[in-house]
């Protein structure tokens, strides 16, 4: 750890500290002035209607896409200048599966493991596939996988990265009921590792049970930030109009 990292780590009171993040796609602003702080080790639920900017926020925080305005730090590393360090400490489960269709599940994991300079033996990777119940299909090409199985493989890939900040973009999507229980179990694993977890989901009650805090996005703006338990009612997602408090 260079001295610079040491200083950054000490200064890092927050795992994620976003200040006025904005991002546009062509004419439309997908993210507008998002500001919030998350202490290390807490788990946060991100809720909002479709197109409210959830995925954009996660991709900006994961240093996949640059913010057009505003700034943020992840574990003390600045999103603008230290994108490499940010990527090293973050694991993102994105809508996109990040997989190679033509290759098998084991090969996809092995490629990721080699880039992460981890053990790439079959004995090291098979347990990971077993964790997501894909060990039987380890040597089948991903092109033969269903959407749910791809999501499971993507989850295994996220698990492999051992990120100290884990961003999950609608992990429950495309999964079957056993898949839901799998996500809950993995959620527990991430928390057990002391990682900060930010999960975007539409399953409000399930998220509220797992997470400490909750954020609500609407039209790219942060509408509500509070304890996760109160999100389903206070977050203003179900009732047609926004309750007075949240405006």
């Amino acid at each position: 750890m260079t001295t610079f990292d040491a200083i950054a780590a000490i200064a890092a009171t927050a795992a994620i500290d976003a200040r006025g993040l904005c991002r546009r796609y062509g004419r439309r602003w997908a993210l507008v002035d998002v500001t919030f702080r998350v202490a290390p080790g807490t788990s946060v639920m991100l809720a909002g209607r479709n197109g409210s900017g959830k995925s954009t926020l996660l991709r900006v925080l994961a240093a996949a896409i640059r913010p057009d305005r505003g700034s943020a730090t992840v574990l003390g590393h600045d999103l603008g200048r230290e994108r490499e360090e940010v990527r090293r400490s973050i694991a993102l489960l994105s809508h996109a599966s990040y997989l190679h269709e033509a290759l098998t599940a084991m090969e996809n994991l092995r490629i990721a493991a080699r880039f992460l300079e981890r053990k790439t033996g079959r004995d090291a990777l098979l347990p990971l596939l077993a964790e997501v119940e894909l060990d039987a299909r380890a040597d089948d090409a991903v092109s033969t996988f269903s959407a749910g199985m791809r999501k499971r493989l993507a989850l295994a890939r996220t698990l492999l990265q051992e990120g100290s900040v884990v961003l999950l973009d609608e992990p429950y999507g495309e999964l079957d009921p056993p898949g839901f229980r799998l996500v809950d179990r993995l959620f527990g694993t991430f928390k057990a590792r002391g990682a900060t977890v930010l999960m975007a989901t539409h399953l409000l009650d399930r998220g509220a049970a797992l997470c400490d805090e909750g954020l609500v996005l609407e039209g790219g703006r942060l509408r509500w930030h509070g304890p996760a338990r109160e999100l389903p009612e206070q977050g203003g997602l179900d009732p047609a109009t926004l309750p007075e408090g949240a405006r």
């Binding site: 904005c22 546009r24 062509g26 602003w29 640059r66 057009d68 305005r69 039209g219």
Partner: protein, 230 residues
């Protein structure tokens, strides 16, 4: 993003007017005052506009290259605007140069294109930068457009010396330099006047074109409006 630039539009127009005047004077001297050359007769007068265009075309591409490098290093979008202006001006001048070159080659060598290394290199640069302008047109995201075209400009510009040498070796068997190298004193006056003429005209055009690019960028990257009444 403030739309100010060092030179306000007035300066742009002024530069263009000065350039146009110099060009008119230089061309007048070149066409009517300067004596006809012993061997070439009057055809050589094309050089009075051909050689200055060549110098300024290279200058425009160099300006675009400098702006591209500055943009990649500093990330300030005024360099991207200058890059776009320089590239567009360079393409216009290079295209003009190629046409002049073939008009010059017909009476002198009897063919429409004499594969002169300098001229052929300009033609290659013309197509390279037309490709870059097309790239800018096909990419919507302003930041990607700026970064990618800057990268393309740097690669295209670095390639120019290699293109020049490969064409010269490839062409060395046919004939020596086509335009006379040593131009004696009285011929220099119109040549220099036209050179400065095109230089000023180019500077004015680039200033205006940069302003135009900056205004478009400011509009494209305008900050979001505050609270929107949904």
């Amino acid at each position: 993003m403030a739309v100010s630039d060092r030179l306000n539009p007035g300066a742009g127009y002024a530069l263009m007017v000065v350039g146009a005047l110099l060009l008119a004077v230089g061309s007048y001297i070149g066409l009517f005052v300067a004596p006809s050359e012993s061997y070439m007769g009057d055809v050589y007068r094309i050089l009075y506009v051909h050689v200055p265009t060549a110098w300024n075309a290279l200058l425009a591409f160099t300006f675009a290259f400098g702006s591209a490098v500055a943009f990649l290093i500093r990330g300030d979008f005024k360099w991207d605007a200058r890059h776009e202006a320089g590239a567009e001006m360079g393409v216009v001048l290079a295209g003009l140069l190629c046409c002049q070159g073939s008009i010059w080659a017909k009476p002198t060598w009897g063919v429409w294109w004499d594969w002169d290394p300098r001229l052929t290199t300009t033609a290659v640069m013309f197509f390279a930068f037309v490709g870059i302008l097309a790239l800018r047109r096909f990419v919507e995201d302003p930041v990607k457009r700026a970064t990618w075209s800057a990268v393309a400009t740097i690669i295209a510009y670095v390639d120019v010396p290699i293109v020049y040498f490969s064409v010269r070796w490839w062409n060395s068997l046919h004939q020596m330099q086509s335009s006379p190298e040593t131009v004696s004193a009285p011929f220099l006056i119109p040549l220099r006047t036209n050179a400065f003429g095109i230089l000023f005209l180019m500077a004015g055009l680039i200033t205006l074109r940069t302003r135009l690019a900056r205004m478009r960028l400011a509009q494209e990257m305008a900050p979001p409006l505050p609270e929107v009444a949904s």
